[in-house]
Point group: C2
Chain length 232, copies 2
DNA sequence: TGCATTTTATTTGTCGACAAAGTTTTGTCA
DNA sequence: TGACAAAACTTTGTCGACAAATAAAATGCA
């Protein structure tokens, strides 16, 4: 039997954010599978509110490409575009490099601290073999680096790319029994050190290597031979 | 006396797009000045519809950063952040380069054609000294190049940056009596040729030079000495 | 049975209404 | 007069209702 959610009385104006955040998480953690339809009325009942705030949350999600709305028809969770993954890898790599470079130049002590905290959480998640926490803290780690780079244009694109990556990584680790690699922890540490040393070129190289590593892992997963798992 | 707009019967679902497109244009052409407040009820009367579709259009505009919404308070046209223009220049330059490079690699004949058409309109606008048309077609020209590059992540960021640039350029040419420079026409032609030749490195250099040129012009405008125009 | 067409049902887009939050005006007292 | 409080007004966020659009079911016909 499913748990019954209860949403206590909330302040006027908080409903949209509540729905938005929850739907967003459910989409990115693949709780809502790509392509599945979203029912406004059902959500309205689930959250105990009218359709108006639900719709606003959906419009915002659509603006970020996490949801697709067909006119006069249902809105559905955005599909993962496996055919054009190379555009994703390309953007991911460039954004890793650019944001890490900028962080080396513009970071301030407090920001480096925030980055370290996310890294600590990331290391703990890897240690505990907690895939969801690892994916989330990895995203936060790189988002914090982008913040330190202080370019809102890059940050917003990077967040979008990282979110898309969150879905891919979830897919990846689901299929490999959630066994998490430790080399990322060390790579993160090296990146932190390079940012602190304000070594732009080293940051660039490390960011590129880090991106390549991730891209390679995902590609390995996508191109692996699935034939032996077919029943005969 | 102001012209009275009339909006004929429209199909169900078209209202949001109508409002969105019009508000967007008015914001980017500085018809709605940055910082000015937006009245939902007034818009609803103006377009002859209820507040619901107006609100949805505003939510979408907020998602693109063209409008800022204060909870329980008015929503206003986003301000231009003059203090952090360098982040804009940085992103603009990088996106010029990246999208032009990708266009050189991935463009197809039809797309090159579209790019040429925008360039023709751009040249005509410069010839006619029509600043608004020139700004719009310049944006379309570079957007078409991004399209040819086929990376939706880059395209979406680039469009956002170009839109922000539309406001800045409008400001620029308003203040200089809308006298339009012709060198951009030639630079555009060179870029087209480089894309057609699929010369990635040349595209990169030309895009960077083009970006630098624009950045320099805007900076010149922003830092010019305004003292002599003060009344004594 | 298989296909086209009408009926019914579901779902979306829009509306008018209303209450909560915020803003301005009015009123009171020092 | 000037500062503070109360009242009146404006604007926003949410709701329930309804009609247009689509999807599903039922019906008719060969």
């Amino acid at each position: 039997m499913a748990e019954t959610e209860t949403f206590p009385d909330r302040k006027r104006g908080s409903g949209v954010k509540l729905v938005y955040d929850l739907l967003r998480d459910e989409i990115l953690d693949l709780v809502l599978p790509p392509g599945s339809t979203i029912d406004e009325v059902q959500l309205a009942e689930r959250f105990g509110m009218s359709r108006t705030p639900i719709r606003e949350a959906l419009v915002r999600l659509a603006g970020e490409g996490l949801v697709e709305t067909l006119p006069n028809r249902s809105t559905m969770v955005a599909n993962i575009d496996f055919l054009n993954l190379h555009t994703f890898f390309d953007a991911l790599t460039l954004m890793y490099r650019v944001t890490t470079r900028l962080a080396a130049t513009y970071h301030q002590p407090a920001e480096l601290n925030a980055i370290r905290q996310h890294q600590a959480r990331f290391a703990a998640a890897v240690e505990a073999q907690d895939a969801l926490a690892m994916i989330a803290s990895n995203r936060d780690f790189h988002a914090a680096i982008a913040e330190a780079g202080r370019n809102p244009y890059y940050t917003s694109l990077f967040l979008r790319v990282l979110d898309e990556g969150r879905r891919l990584l979830r897919l990846y680790y689901q299929s490999f029994d959630d066994r998490l690699p430790r080399e990322y922890v060390d790579e993160h540490e090296a990146i932190i050190a390079a940012i602190e040393a304000r070594d732009v070129e080293l940051c660039d190289r490390l960011a590129k290597a880090h991106a390549d590593q991730i891209v390679r892992q995902i590609q390995k997963f996508l191109t692996r031979d699935r034939r032996q798992s077919l029943p005969l």
